[in-house]
Amino acid sequence: MAVENAVLTVADVQKSFGGLRALSEIDLQIERGKTHAIIGPNGAGKSTLLNVCVGRIPPDEGAVVFKGQVITGKKPHEINQMGIARVFQTPEIFADLTVLQNVMVPAYAKRDGAVKFTLFHGMDKDTDIRLEAEQILMDLGLADKRHDDADSMSRGDKRRLELAMCLVQHPDLLLLDEPTAGMSRLDTNRTIDLLKSIKERGMTKVIIEHDMHVVFSLADKVSVLAQGRIIAEGTPDEVRANPKVQEAYLGGAH
């Protein structure tokens, strides 16, 4: 079932940890501009799959292809430089830096590449980086906190900051690992609105999510993972109606 216009293709990926089969025969195509949700019960292999995609874990077999290039075996920074940004399950931010600096760091990586030594050049001269970062912070409603220490923010704000750090790079593909975990209902809905507005800009997203409310609000396509295999794929409505999925995962709750 080849999808035209696929940004990311996962081809026959296998991964075992010791005797445990974490992923088997995973085939996945992520269409450009779409939001693709990967759902499944705990331990289904969702995070492992994401880690394989960003080069954190090498697969035992199979390959991940991004924009026509095989990215399996590449280092995380190389994969990021190709245009994949990632939001982690627990916010990974620079706790010691200010909110603004947190966003400026990835902006530098986007502009200057993986390595560039600018030792004797004041940061204040890089107004382009600064404006870009300020803009994203305004977009995400963090502008008034820009000079605070990132560590002093609430958990929800940290998640938004991490999202800002990804968005400032204008990635082709954004991977989100449970972007609303631990958020209040209001914050969850704000995040949904935010992610919807990113969709309008044509950014491709892969979302791993537990919360069905989030999945059905956002996803164009849903893949259901259970015990390391994809057991169903389709539009949210198709997946919801699939008796196999209801049995394995939804447990008849919907």
Partner: protein, 417 residues
């Protein structure tokens, strides 16, 4: 799976949009990298650091360093030999802080670069010229080259394993200097400048015939006060370079690495070249310090490379305040002061200092104080170090900031001094 009704229930429109609605539409950029509407300027685009504060700090620092012969008088420390040490170990600690305070890598082997810098400078005195310029250049370059090699291997690991690797390398250098490398280091005797050394460059100018070879700068001997002034100028330069690095994008990347190295690689940075660069820069600082030690006293011995010397610079940095600009120098001054002045305080001096205490109590006071001075100066230093680490993990600079905040009643939330 979260099926709690409260979270999944549909929301009214106001709830859905929430406070975000008050802000501008969440994304008003259509596409591309150019913002169609720029954020407001003015106070919003205030510089990241008040630039005047940096200039002010540099001026104050320079003034403090250059007036050391005056304000150190009352402390009995205003003699050139000790002031040279303040300046030289200040450079050592400032450089060490770039690796430890900024990048978060704790090296336990930085004395190796100090020692190598000294040897390189003395060899330059022997082979080329008694002029200090080639000696300093050679010290910095060779220490930097060694730092590339040691850093390349050690930086494959982080945390405690990195510390152990650097310690192992430094001890290796120390032991090699005493054994295999004796032809270069002159073993236990130490490497010294002799009157019959070739000194090629001096020979060209016909100035190689000197009765007592001393390091000089165009005729000015580096003995005594000129040695201090030279070290002081290098210290101020070293401080300014460290300040510029701290304020540069490179400095921010180093702090990013310290804060979250995993995130750094996931935002697209290859962190290894950055850590190696930081390691080499701090190695070059150590080489400069080592070279200056040879400048003020043209003699190099292997004891400079021992692990205790590596530990000392760690103490200096933590005592003064790791990650701050002024802290490492402060720590260096304090430790060298204790080492040279406190350790020389004998019972007789103590007795004369405590004249004001009544006769009966004086002996008790001396009995209490004497273990902390003289040979016991390590005890004072140890207690001070423990107090700082427990109550002011940010070092003495943090202590000063707290005091400053008491007076200004809050002030800026985060300073970068």
């Amino acid at each position: 799976m979260d099926t709690t009704p409260s979270k999944n229930a549909p929301l009214s429109e106001t709830e859905r949009v929430g406070p975000a609605a008050k802000e501008k539409s969440v994304f008003y950029r259509t596409s591309g990298r150019i913002a169609t509407q720029l954020p407001p300027r003015g106070p919003e685009m205030a510089p990241l650091w008040p630039p005047k504060a940096d200039i002010f700090m540099t001026i104050v620092f320079s003034a403090v360093v250059l007036t050391m012969p005056l304000w150190l008088q009352p402390f009995g420390a205003a003699y050139p030999d000790l002031m040279q040490r303040f300046a030289i170990f200040g450079i050592f600690a400032i450089g060490f802080n770039i690796l430890f305070g900024l990048t978060g890598y704790l090296s336990f082997g930085h004395a190796a670069f100090l020692g190598v810098g000294s040897y390189a400078a003395v060899w330059s005195f022997k082979l080329f010229s008694l002029n200090i310029i080639p000696a300093i250049i050679m010290a910095v370059v060779i220490a930097g080259a060694l730092a590339v090699a040691i850093g390349f291997v050690s930086l494959r690991r982080s945390g405690i394993y990195f510390s152990i690797l650097t310690l192992a390398f430094a001890q290796m250098c120390y032991n090699l200097a005493y054994s295999v490398l004796t032809p270069i280091t002159n073993g236990e005797t130490g490497l010294r400048v002799l009157s019959d050394d070739p000194r090629i460059i001096d020979a060209i100018f016909g100035t190689n015939e000197v009765p007592v070879p001393r390091a000089e700068l165009f005729g000015i001997s580096m003995q005594g006060m000129p040695g201090f002034w030279t070290s002081a100028v290098f210290l101020i330069a070293a401080f300014v370079v460290a300040l510029l690095i701290t304020r540069s994008p490179f400095g921010m990347m180093l702090r990013g690495i310290k804060s979250n190295q995993v995130r750094m690689s996931y935002v697209g940075f290859n962190t290894r070249p950055y850590t190696l660069m930081a390691f080499v820069i701090s190695g070059m600082y150590a080489g400069l310090a080592g070279g200056l030690l040879a400048v003020v006293d043209p003699l190099a011995g292997a004891e400079r490379m021992q692990w205790t010397a590596s530990g000392e610079v760690v103490l200096m940095t933590i005592l003064g305040g790791a990650g701050t600009l002024l802290g490492p120098f402060l720590g260096a001054v304090l430790i060298k002061y204790f080492e040279n002045i406190f350790s020389a305080l004998g019972d007789t001096t103590l007795r004369s200092m405590l004249e004001f205490i009544p006769e009966g109590l004086r002996d008790t006071a001396i009995a209490i104080i004497s273990p902390f001075v003289g040979d016991g100066w390590h005890l004072t230093l140890g207690v001070l170090f423990m107090l700082v680490v427990i109550f002011m993990p940010g070092g003495l600079i943090e202590g000063f900031r707290r005091i400053g905040r008491l007076f200004t009643g809050g002030g800026r939330k985060k300073e970068n001094g």
